[in-house]
């Protein structure tokens, strides 16, 4: 097969498919190359299926605490891990089909296979030889076969994969990555989670809620290293109360595999060594860009620390070759990839675009309690030389939170004392992942404390805490 397009996109993850749809909207003849599954890791092995798992855990948690809400449950509350996994896979598969529909609707052609850029403007597509996870998926109906395709503009959106530490490489049986952790055949009795970023913490939260003994090992002095220290400390307290063991400033130096367990040697920053044995271990020490096999080296595409170097508008150093999403560098988040893709394609179209302001990209972790943030942490804001006004409002002071039975949490806001600029917002507690967007919009519109104070927040909602937090930064909180 062959074909000529305006835009060829390599990778059908959230970055790639959103870019493809936007390209089609702009009138470009567009094709998307995917080797395994539409929707990428996000939809098939990341964001979405974990939310399905965590939803099961959440309902399980409420059911086992039904008494707190005046409910009685006759008989025992249990679960079947196979059914939980099945539901999660079903959610992915439903959305996966949805992406295929959207592409078709927008007349984006789908090419099935593994892509290599042979020269600027030309992509050779071979049959998918290996699948990253699970059994290979057949090409969807109507997808174009392998061959040589040409396009003036080639956008690399190949995403990322789990990083492996030397000597502690995941074996998929005892040492898992998120792929295996997402589809457990049986509940491990004990679990060691290496890494306390969003992925590690979400799995820790899920497995703990389902009854496993969970230990989290983090090399940095705080868990959730990118989050505000106060929020991370609050989270740690909650996790420990739930029974998660947390070791910070500690490093897994070696892992010995048994027949059905692992024993990890862990050294803390004081040099004290201990060993922990667990049924399974999850390696969640970050992700690295998928830059191999694309022919990028031969073309001289500039790369740095496993990612393609771009100018913020998706341009690489080679004209006609663009990169977006995880493969174009951190933060490696689906919503960053989508937005970057849109900027890239609009730039190609010649529309007036600006590089994304990375300080305005929110981050969410769906553990229990949830964590959400945008902008600078208090420490980073101080380092940047700002004089700060910091507001805090606890869930305990919010009527809706009390009614929900979720009195534990905090909304923290950080302002530049000089200008009233909202520098950062950090939240922990029930549903905060749905709240953060209010502050993201505020930051995007460059509102100051004044406009936020003048904004009417509906009562009774958790969002009132956002208002109160802003008021508190200026010594005006009402319910505290």
């Amino acid at each position: 097969m062959s074909g000529t397009y305006d835009i060829l996109i390599i990778g059908g993850g959230p970055g790639g498919y959103v870019t493809a749809i936007r390209a089609a909207q702009l009138g470009f003849k567009t094709a998307l190359i995917e080797r395994e599954h539409l929707g990428g890791i996000c939809l098939n092995w990341g964001c979405i299926p974990t939310k399905a798992l965590l939803r099961s855990a959440e309902i399980y948690h409420y059911a086992t605490h039904a008494k707190d809400y005046g409910l009685t449950l006759n008989g025992s509350m249990g679960f079947d891990i196979a059914d939980i996994v099945k539901r999660s896979r079903g959610v992915s598969s439903q959305l996966n089909g949805g992406v295929g529909f959207l592409l078709k609707k927008n007349k984006v052609e789908l090419i099935w296979g593994e892509a290599t850029i042979t020269k600027p403007g030309e992509v050779m597509v071979k049959a998918s030889t290996k699948s990253v996870a699970g059994p290979p998926i057949d090409a969807p109906k109507g997808a174009l076969a392998i061959g040589t395709y040409t396009a003036k503009n080639i956008i690399v959106a190949t995403g990322a994969r789990p990083r492996a530490l030397p000597g502690i490489e995941p074996d998929k049986k005892l040492i898992w990555t998120y792929f295996e952790a997402m589809v457990p055949q049986a509940m491990p009795k004990s679990l060691l989670v290496m890494g306390s970023g969003a992925i590690g913490i979400e799995f820790a939260s899920f497995y703990r809620t389902m009854g496993a003994d969970v230990t989290v090992v983090e090399v940095m002095p705080q868990i959730l290293p990118v989050e505000d220290a106060e929020i991370a400390a609050h989270a740690r307290k909650r996790f420990e109360k739930q029974g998660i063991k947390i070791l910070t400033g500690a490093k897994v130096t070696a892992v010995a595999k048994g027949s059905d367990s692992v024993t990890a040697t862990i050294v803390d920053d004081k040099g004290v060594t201990q060993s922990i044995t667990a049924d399974r271990m999850i390696s969640a020490v970050g992700v690295v860009g998928n830059i191999e096999g694309l022919g990028l080296e031969a073309l001289g595409v500039k790369m740095d620390r496993g990612c393609i170097v771009t100018d913020g508008l998706g341009n690489t150093n080679i004209p006609g070759i663009f990169a977006i999403g995880d493969v174009a560098g951190p933060p490696m988040l689906a919503h960053k990839a989508e937005h970057e893709g849109v900027i890239c394609i609009e730039g190609i179209k010649g529309l007036h675009v600006h590089p994304m302001d990375k300080l305005k990209i929110p981050g969410c972790t769906y553990c229990h309690p949830q964590i959400a943030s945008v902008g600078l942490t208090e420490a980073k804001a101080k380092d940047a030389g700002y004089e700060l006004k910091v507001g805090r409002f606890p869930f305990m002071g919010n009527g809706k939170a009390i009614a929900l039975g979720e009195p534990d949490g905090l909304v923290k806001t950080i302002f530049d004392a000089k200008t009233g600029k909202l520098l950062g917002a950090h939240m922990i507690g029930a549903e905060v992942t749905e709240l953060i967007q209010g502050f993201v919009v505020a930051m995007g519109l460059e509102t100051t404390e004044e406009e936020l104070m003048h904004t009417v927040f509906p009562h009774p909602t958790l969002s009132e805490m956002m208002h109160e937090s802003v008021l508190d930064a200026y010594g005006r909180a009402i319910h505290m």
């Binding site: 600006h354 200008t419 009233g420 600029k421 460059e446 509102t447 100051t448 004044e450």
Partner: protein, 428 residues
């Protein structure tokens, strides 16, 4: 509901205006059609009538400088209506710029201009600025006029970084002028003179408009010049005869045709004879005009204005003469109507009365040409190998080379010269 009194767009070019005076006071009872206030725009003063009858309240903008077109400057309440207190003046972003211009009427160039200006209202920040709250606060703290800051946000909105960047540029500019190709800042200019050695007169809207339009023209229009000497003796004797033949009205001659009136007519006829030069440049097409509308630069205190003799090729010299006399008088009083000075297909600028021999003028888009006219003076000329005396006037045609090439410009000036030197041909 009280009726808002809006600062109207009285001039196609107008983005903002200044209220020079109010004829009514707060709380006065006004009648529909009664004159409420006078607007000073960049080119004229206009009286604005009351849209309704009632009691006028909330009079604002009396001396508050430039007010954006469409802003509410007062409210009129019905006598029975309770006064509801002041409301904020509507912001720039809320204003809809009416596009009431018809399509496909290329003969009227005002449209080209006013459409681009209409875009300016939303993208440019005049009056109440389109700026984020943080940008507004920063500008206030740093005493920066937001209308001077180029916005890079959605729809040209000024973001905080634009304000910060503006400030940096400003400081960089005032500290060192090296490697800075943009105009020097006010501060750096003032620093060249000792304080007290000058007085500072803020620009009025006319000055700003002249500055903006001429800078734009010199920066965007590739100018090309052709000159010719025209002998005037025949024209002068024809003029003398015509003026002598003028009937007396109230003991005064009914008309007195000037050399300039001949120039206007000759240029108009030349354009009709060389139609390819009677054009306007647009990015996508050449607008070929069917009539020659000649703008005539009239110097007035504080600036100049260019009223237009429409379809000058069809008008008699006495008609042109009468029209110019009326225009000149009303221009000095700043009473010209916008439709009288907007558009045109060419222009004449005559500095002959100052004894200027020759000069070249700046094309005023959408015109593609302008004729600069020097003084008619007796010069030694060679005729048939003999030295002779003739009255000679040097004219210089500036053309927009995108629209009128060198040879075409030369053809136009040659045709003009023939007409001026044989004025009877003009009357044919």
């Amino acid at each position: 509901m009280p009726v808002d009194v809006i600062l109207p767009r009285v001039d196609m070019d107008m983005v903002s205006g200044r209220i020079s005076r109010w004829f009514v006071a707060e709380g006065d009872i006004v009648k529909k059609g009664q004159v409420l206030f006078e607007i000073e725009t960049d080119k004229s003063a206009m009286e604005v009538d009351s849209p309704t009858s009632g009691i006028i309240k909330d009079i604002s903008g009396a001396s508050s400088g430039d007010i954006l077109v469409g802003s509410s400057v007062a409210r009129i309440f019905q006598e029975s209506e309770p006064y509801t207190g002041k409301t904020a003046v509507s912001s720039a972003s809320e204003l809809k710029v009416e596009n009431k211009f018809e399509k496909n009427s290329f003969l009227d160039h005002d449209k080209l201009e006013s459409i681009s200006d209409a875009v300016d209202v939303s993208s440019n920040q005049k009056g109440i600025a389109n700026a984020t709250p943080l940008a507004r606060r920063l500008a206030k703290e740093k005493s920066i006029d937001l209308s001077l800051v180029q916005g890079t946000g959605p729809r040209g909105r000024v973001q905080s970084e634009d304000v910060l960047k503006y400030k940096t540029d400003f400081i960089a500019d005032s500290k060192s002028n090296s490697a800075n190709i943009s105009a020097p800042s006010d501060l750096s200019v003032k620093k060249l003179f000792s304080s007290g050695s000058f007085i500072e007169v803020p620009h009025d809207t006319m000055r700003k408009t002249i500055a903006r339009r001429l800078l734009e023209s010199k920066q965007t229009v590739p100018h090309f010049y052709v000159s010719a000497d025209c002998e005037l003796d025949r024209l002068l004797s024809a003029r003398e005869e015509m003026n002598a033949a003028a009937p007396l009205v109230d003991g005064k001659p009914a008309y007195k045709i000037s050399v300039n009136d001949f120039v206007i007519k000759a240029l108009a006829q030349a354009l009709i004879r060389v139609p390819d030069a009677n054009v306007s440049w647009t990015e996508h097409a050449m607008l070929k005009h069917l009539h020659a509308d000649v703008g005539v630069a009239v110097s007035i205190p504080g600036g100049l204005i260019t009223p237009i003799v429409r379809q000058a090729e069809t008008k008699s010299l006495t008609q042109i003469s009468a029209e110019m006399k009326d225009y000149a008088a009303r221009a000095k009083a700043r009473k010209l109507k916008p439709e009288e000075y907007q558009g045109g297909t060419t222009a004449v600028s005559n500095l002959g009365m100052f004894g200027v021999k020759e000069f070249s003028a700046i094309v005023n888009p959408p015109h593609a040409t302008i004729l600069a006219v020097g003084a008619g003076e007796q010069r030694a000329v060679v005729k048939g190998g003999q030295l002779a005396i003739a009255t000679v006037m040097t004219v210089t045609l500036s053309t927009d080379h995108r629209a009128v090439d060198g040879a075409l410009g030369a053809e136009l000036i040659q045709t003009f010269k023939k007409l001026i030197e044989n004025p009877l041909a003009m009357l044919a």
